[in-house]
């Protein structure tokens, strides 16, 4: 068991190296660099620009730059952001909390709504409940996240019930103290982005839950359980549901990765200062150290999420547990 865990963790290292290499390569293929926009600035001399580029290793080929980056990264130093002039790690930690709160709220909403609805739809197959859920799923899957976000923004603006941007009201800027009113204010800001983010994953989880449960409800061991006179709740809960849960654990693992890598579209629409927005900004301004750090982190989280999903599977399914 422990050797298996250790092996899985070891396997992550070459993938992380590959992803960071690829990021450096792709960044070098884009025209210009972070300092290109300063070239037309009359106040900055050619010599100064050369100096700045040399300092950021932008005068060297990408693989040499990668070498420099790797040398620092191995010591735990991800370097300075060219744009923000503060350490990349500090920047990420600052944004991490916002991203985490948004993603966790969306995750909770999506799963707590989708699972019961999916179960309900499967148990009452072909009833109006099932049809209603199918309609919701159809809408949820076909409306793009970006359109839903814009519609929510329009709704917030037209009704005035919800703030349109940020994590909290402007009056809290620079304020250190926390009180109940501030928490409420944050929750108020959180509502719409979390709902929109949840809506996009809700439909998929719900349909997956429904179809898996339908499969197991048709299985002979479920019929056998009914034949032995077990109550319907017991039959569904203990026999059908437990066997329907496997694919959902995998999906759950993937969504864990999303918790900390940020939601690009929603964070941008709602001006949510999270990691997704940071990554996008870093890409457009070609702040390469920040880009590599966020991409590598997202990759790492995805792998850890998968890993957790596998552990959950092994924990829940004796057939998988015994094979390993």
């Amino acid at each position: 068991m422990w050797t298996y865990l250790f092996q899985r963790l070891l396997h992550m290292i070459p993938i992380l190296i590959g992803v960071s290499l690829l990021t450096f390569l792709l960044m070098s293929l884009t025209p210009g660099d972070y300092y290109s926009k300063l070239e037309n600035n009359p106040q900055i001399t050619k010599e100064k620009l050369t100096q700045l580029r040399a300092k950021a290793h932008l005068d060297r080929p990408w693989y040499v730059r990668y070498g420099y980056w790797m040398k620092d990264a191995l010591r735990g130093d991800l370097g300075y952001s060219l744009e923000y002039k503060i350490p990349v790690s500090e920047l990420i930690v600052m944004r991490l909390w916002n991203t985490f709160v948004l993603a966790l709220a969306a995750l909770l909403i999506a799963w707590l709504v989708a699972l019961p609805l999916g179960i309900w739809a499967a148990v009452r197959k072909d009833s109006w409940v099932d049809r209603g859920c199918a309609m919701i799923a159809f809408l949820g899957l076909s409306i793009p996240e970006i359109l839903l976000g814009l519609m929510a923004l329009l709704f917030a603006y037209a009704s005035g019930w919800f703030p349109v941007s940020g994590v909290e009201s402007n009056r809290y800027i620079g304020v250190e103290d926390w009180d109940a009113a501030r928490v409420l204010n944050r929750l108020h800001h959180l509502t719409l982005p979390a709902l929109v983010l949840a809506a996009s994953s809700l439909a998929g989880i719900m349909r997956q839950m429904r179809s898996n449960l339908l499969d197991t409800l048709r299985a002979d061991y479920v019929t056998a359980a009914r034949a032995r006179g077990l109550s319907e709740g017991w039959v569904v809960g203990k026999h059908a549901l437990r066997n329907a849960i496997n694919p959902l654990l995998t999906i759950f693992g993937y969504s864990l990765a999303g918790l900390l890598s940020g939601a690009f579209i929603i964070e941008n629409i709602f001006s949510w200062p999270g990691l997704g927005r940071l990554t996008l900004e870093a890409l457009t301004s070609q702040d390469y150290r920040l880009v590599v750090a966020t991409v590598v982190m997202a990759t790492g989280l995805l792998m850890v999420g998968n890993f957790i999903a596998d552990l959950l599977l092994a924990w829940s399914d004796p057939r998988i547990r015994l094979r390993e």
């Binding site: 002979d220 056998a224 006179g229 077990l230 057939r319």
Partner: protein
Amino acid sequence: MSLLEVKDLKVHFPVRQGLFSRVKGYVRAVDGVSFSIEPGETLGLVGESGCGKTTLGRAVIRLIEPTAGSVVLEGADLRKLRGEALRQKRRTFQMIFQDPVSSLNPRMTVGQIVGEALEIHNLAPDAAARRERVGELLKSVGLDPLHAQRYPHEFSGGQRQRIGIARALAVRPKLIVCDEPISALDVSVQAQIINLLGDLQQQEGVAYLFIAHDLAVVEHISRRVMVMYLGKVVEMGESRSLCRDPKHPYTKALISAVPVVDPKSKRQRMLLPGDVPSPINPPSGCPFHPRCPVAEARCKTEVPELREVTPGRWAACHLAQ
């Protein structure tokens, strides 16, 4: 008194179509079947795929809701039972499934699978007594009591079928519906399971409704045999005489399809033309007439009743005698 008395049982499934799921017709899976089973008896049920054998078996023990008719077990009409009363009654009738892989919950140990019903129906006072009873049951089907700790996927097909049998026996039922319990097994294992079922019948006095599509097996295990075609019983009688001297042309065709071990045997194979007609729009008159080699004009219009052709032998054919 008979253990089980089934009268005019019908199971019709609605066929829905279109936007508003209007009912366009019915699949007459089981269409007016009557029979009885004595305590400790085995009644064989044969017919080709899709003739309604499984539906009949499941409707008898209310795993499928019958559309009409009555099922009386030990004097109690099962169709009138609801909810908790029905769940309590389920102790008296059990089922063994065809597929030994999908009929055992992969997440439960063998002990849990066999012991669950004991717990639900309070058949064992405590966990220790339950463990002991599970061990007893496993031993009675030829497994090691230590196997209770293992999971179903650690067993072979024949062993799994034994677990399924132990599970059905746990509640000491009076009737077990065996839904093709051996068709998914190797021939060598088939014989073992059939012998096991026979031995258990002697020990426990349980009655079987034994569903199969293999007449040779059914003849071996059952005292009486019932032949189904398109949701209806076409012939019923004592198994040996039915196999020697079938009265209904469909039964004749079925028997001629059973392979004979003697390679020199030059018997007449009777091949039926065409396929089984759709049970949504069954043929008029005798449902078998489009494929029957001896059909007459009246077979197309008059529905033959199941009548006693010779003492103890019933057939639904105008021409049988």
